[in-house]
Symmetry: C2
Subunit: 380 residues, 2 copies
Amino acid sequence: MRPSEQNLQPLLLTPGPTPVPLPVREALASPLIHHRTDEYRSIFRTVSGSLQEVFRTGNPIFTLASSGTGAMETGIINFLSPGDKILVLACGKFSERFLEIAKAYGIECDCLRIPYGEAADPGAVEKQLTLASYRAVYTALCETSTGVLNDVRSIGRLVARTDAIFVVDAISGLLADPLETDDWNVDVAIGASQKALMLPPGAAFLAVSPKAWAAAERGRLPRYYFDLRRYRKDFENFDTPFTPAISIICALAKSLELILKEGVEAQWGRCASLAGMTRQVLDGWGLKMFPKRPSNAMTAVCLPEGVDGNLLLKILKKEYGVFMAGGQGNGLKGRILRIGHMGAVREKDLLRGFDGLSKVLAQLGQPVPGGFPEVLEVTG
Amino acid sequence: MRPSEQNLQPLLLTPGPTPVPLPVREALASPLIHHRTDEYRSIFRTVSGSLQEVFRTGNPIFTLASSGTGAMETGIINFLSPGDKILVLACGKFSERFLEIAKAYGIECDCLRIPYGEAADPGAVEKQLTLASYRAVYTALCETSTGVLNDVRSIGRLVARTDAIFVVDAISGLLADPLETDDWNVDVAIGASQKALMLPPGAAFLAVSPKAWAAAERGRLPRYYFDLRRYRKDFENFDTPFTPAISIICALAKSLELILKEGVEAQWGRCASLAGMTRQVLDGWGLKMFPKRPSNAMTAVCLPEGVDGNLLLKILKKEYGVFMAGGQGNGLKGRILRIGHMGAVREKDLLRGFDGLSKVLAQLGQPVPGGFPEVLEVTG
């Protein structure tokens, strides 16, 4: 099939931002309401409750007007003091960001460096936790730069035995990979709007446990806009200390309605099934998975030797209207391909993506072995 | 005239957020694009150039995914070091926020406390500047909590003679009150999306002068998400270090197109004319202006003795669909009324607001002297 007019409608298959469904875009375009009103507070209250279902937590969720990195910084500066020691389980560009932020604030960091494409080994974490006393342990659920899924459940069990709090960047993993914030002993779980929540970027979320609040009482790092104490105080009235990202929160009410109608487990199931389908196709093409323990939010795959990943992405975008992502950091740029299949992405979107991808690979002299599988012929 | 169905369409006459015009809302609802693309960079480049016209500056404008307070914090933590001394010209809740932020970071603050409703006196500032050596001077163009307009031009001239940088919160004043960032020696001018830029909240802007950059080189306060050095580096490629508020930036391209088509001076002129009309009406009703030196972004007026301002706002909203704002801080709550007339607000909107307001005042036993002026009869 040749690219048609319809197919050139841009299709986001990146691991965030993700496509925003029409009803959510319509909500974004509604006339703006004022945030210091009962109407807004009622929406914010509903949204906050629904987010608790998504995070699987009974703890309050705090909402920031910022992108995910702002929430990661919030997860550091509220719970620590100068000279405190933390452990970072760094397996890619985003979990490494915790290190960068902590260092900017004079925090002493031990780092368990995990080779890109691998997940943190709970055994190694267990050993490391006996070597020093940490105030907090940081890692990611899905490491977006490599597509790896960490075993948050096992690591949470280990951290829970210590005085450290466990802070997890669940920005790209949320709603795609199972996460049981409370049951898995995650003290601070971080999310953002532009992934499986199907919204534009601009709002970020933190679920905060009582153990984390106890750490916050001791915290002496300077903070203002990201000071969770202010958010906790105003949250009693379903208010925020600073002007919230009103349009995104109102649209979030709509996307959460869609999400909870389907159900959280059903979302996990759908992402797992799309991930399985993606891997079956790419495997059939002889492409090697990059992560050893892959997330369901996205698939990261090694490109065949000799294929220029940047050129591939450029052609895919220009000729087929399909946006996938390349590698980030540590020499991965141009070498791996990352395909998002969370949020509003459906099978037909992936089929369109594979169709374009197979053709670009052929164009670049790497025809897909066995051609494009018949079952995946795009018929629509 | 009785409130009609049409009139109950909510009307935002608050000093932010302000109404978002339909073409801008349509842009907000466009399919999301990815931010690491030439398409987005081209939009961001155009937007950044247009913002320079709005700020009247040749200096680059940095864009944050945050609300205005995040940019105010950015305006402190990038340019100072622990123990540095600053001068804050505090004339209301928002200029006082600079004090709160600075104190959270261990900055030594001298404060020129100006009675609410008054503007900073350049003579007093001149004297204060001889008493100590400051790293920076902070104030607001329009102090949103009182509706006062500071004489930024005169103060800028005084600060320019010293080593201090001059940081101005122009969040509500931008595009409503004249501001010549470069000519008036403003080193850091701060704006946000939800005022005269006619957008939802979620993006904030800083115009940064070379003098401010020199201060930033010395700055030793901890920062990451708000670290302008990161933004400056990425701005070379019209990129941002962290995920931007994509939908707001794309809609900003549309609102800036509308704004620059009309022209910056024309916007100032329209706000001045709407402010004049508002004051004529309220004056005719015998209501006293609250600020001595009023901004054109908004009108703050004293309520008649015995009128419960909170009740008034409630009825106005419920029965007429009109949102105005009450007082903030320092015992002003319930005592003053603030009416926004910046951005997309037009004469007909204000007429609808006055119509509702006059009726609610009558309901509360304070009929408008001489009734509702005939010329303002709402006919549409």
